[in-house]
Amino acid sequence: MDTFRDKLIPVTSILAGVVVLWYVMAVILNTPFQRDLDRRAGETHTLSEFIGKTLAQPKPTLPAPHQVAVNFFENTFLRPVTSNRSLVYNAWVTLSSTLLGFAFGTALGIIIAVGIVHVATLDRSLMPWIIASQTIPILAVAPMIIVVLAAVGITGLVPKAMISTYLSFFPVTVGMVKGLRSPEIMHLDLMHTYNASRAQTFWKLRVPASVPFLFTSMKVAVAASLVGAIVGELPTGAVAGIGAKLLAGAYYSQSIDIWSALVAGSVVAALLVMVVGIAGRIVDRAMGGRPA
């Protein structure tokens, strides 16, 4: 088993490699435009000056890492949180609908899973559709949900949250069905010899057995939920949110803004997955699990 320290050196060196490659690509990709600019201005530069300029364009083809970092830092820490250019504000808008959708999606997923495990009819008729629905590109529905709900007068948080719900309940359902079925026949037989009722078997055996499955699928679900919220912001030209930042950046070719919105989205995703992971570990420990 790789320990944390075993991983640390390879991971950091590969990340460093990515950054170096990024700088090289930035110079290469931004060169044609910079050469064009220089030719028009009638300037000639030494090589080092030229490279410096390719890394400092206002609307580069590929912004250099430090440009993205500066933009990210400015928009995250230096702006007031209430400003609509602040990444914290936009991330919060996206995060709120992500969380709402994730909460609904998890609850819905658990309810459906309980139904599937206990009602044979649902298992045979609904489960194939849930599996089949994972093979279709559900995100394509996003614009329609937003626009149609806006036509009825429902705007803002709820439509985006519905898309997140839709995306996040599948993994939870599938994971929970697996988890609730994970107790072995032996354990079920033991509950039988105790003359346990269905409810008792459910609460004392099936639910505890399903908890690890729940948290694993919740990690997938929360990531899917964030993607849903971001895509939900695209079609209507939403005013705020990470998706709106991406779209605005795409319209005005503000490549640095796009990249820093992307970084913000990634940070939010990593935080969400981490929080779910930590919650899972806390619950596991509270239930008496020991590190393997």
Binding site: P10, R124, Q134, I136, P235, L246
Partner: protein, 376 residues
């Protein structure tokens, strides 16, 4: 003689139609009443949904299922026929008949899912029929409620209108599929999965790479990669190349992570055996480790088949030439042609299922030795 066992679905179905029956009987001959209180089809539908309550528990299970099936669907057909021309005027009787027909369909599915047929053919057939009835009833209820309640067309068109739209705009849908799937998705899918596979083999050869790439790959899979779409559109232009680039990036990491995990799946025993045969690295890779990794690789291919479609469609929201599934969805939404959007979604769903199905079939053919395929 044993007292018949009444099923709760059939009994409830009967209780629900008591009200329509009373209204129907007291109003016989009064013209101009809403469906199902007048006319032949309303009476027949009421009679159909009451019938199984009578026979419930007195017949062989399979005959009862067949009876429920015929009555439920017969009533549904009459119901949908009865509302034609009277959209938006449905009263409580309409919904009561609908609900009891649905209960009968449920009864039918419940009986069928209790069956444990011995022959393989019958159990396969059951595995298909049960979800098919369920799916059909989602469509029936959707159609009946949208038409019965007169839900505005732009809110939720009935399935029949969507079907008509698909039939009438086949050339447009075909062009969109060609642009999005045959150009962007397939190219991106092949290149993305292929490079992911090759990098995984390289990473497996060099432990340093593996230790570095795996955590990164695992982390990236949680990120909203779809956000690179505007950048790719900026770099590669509006045509399919930019969508293929998004698909490549989205499919690369799942393939990498799964293949690396799969290459570690062959056991020590087997590897030792290969060593005693004095086989080299490549022989071991081709004859032992890649076949052992096949289930993992196919898992990635299946995940990627969905991701690739999503990537290409969403990337088209950021700008395309005037053709493509994502383009059609976003523009027709803007023009409030919701039936066209649904048509496009239905096509996308079909394409996704076919794509997944093809990958699954190839998997069955390639990993015929795996316990999950042999069926234990």
């Amino acid at each position: 003689m044993k007292a018949p066992m009444y099923s709760w679905q059939a009994s409830l179905a009967f209780l629900l139609v008591i009200f329509p029956i009373v209204v129907f009987v007291t109003n016989v001959g009064v013209p101009g009443l809403a469906w199902p209180y007048s006319g032949f089809s309303g009476g027949l539908a009421i009679a159909l949904v009451t019938l199984p309550a009578w026979f419930s528990g007195r017949l062989l299970k399979l005959w009862e299922a067949a009876l429920c099936f015929v009555c439920a669907h017969g009533a549904a057909v009459l119901l949908l026929g009865g509302i034609r021309g009277h959209e938006g005027t449905a009263g409580p009787g309409y919904y009561l008949v609908l609900a009891s027909a649905w209960l009968l369909a449920w009864r039918c599915v419940a009986i069928l899912s209790e069956q444990r047929p011995l022959s393989r053919l019958a159990s396969t057939a059951l595995r298909l029929i049960i979800p098919a009835i369920f799916g059909a009833w989602i469509l029936i209820i959707w159609e009946a409620v949208t038409r019965g309640a007169g839900i505005p067309f732009i809110l939720l068109p009935p399935p029949s209108a969507i079907g008509a739209r698909i039939a009438s705009s086949l050339p447009v849908l075909g062009a969109d599929v060609r642009q999005t799937i045959f150009k962007a998705v397939i190219f991106g899918y092949v290149v993305g999965s292929g490079t992911g596979f090759l990098v995984a083999i390289a990473a497996d050869r060099v432990p340093f790479l593996r230790r570095g790439l795996l955590p990164i790959g695992n982390m990236v899979s949680a990120l909203p990669i779809i956000g690179v779409a505007p950048i790719m559109v900026m770099w590669f232009g509006f045509d399919w190349q930019s969508k293929a680039a998004v698909v490549i990036i989205m499919t690369f990491f799942p393939m990498l992570v799964n293949t690396v995990a799969g290459l570690a799946a062959s056991g020590h025993m087997e590897r030792d055996l290969m060593r005693t045969y004095a086989s080299g690295y490549w022989q071991t890779l081709l004859k032992l480790r890649l076949p052992a990794a096949a289930p993992f690789i196919f898992n990635a291919l299946k995940i990627n088949s969905t991701l690739a479609l999503i990537g290409a469609i969403v990337a088209e929201f950021f700008g395309t030439p005037v053709v493509g599934m994502g383009f059609r969805i976003s523009t027709e939404v803007g023009r409030m042609n919701i039936d066209m959007v649904w048509a496009e979604i239905a096509v996308a769903a079909l394409a996704g299922s076919v794509f997944y199905g093809v990958v699954a079939l190839v998997e069955r053919a390639v990993t015929f030795w795996h316990p999950s395929v042999r069926g234990g």
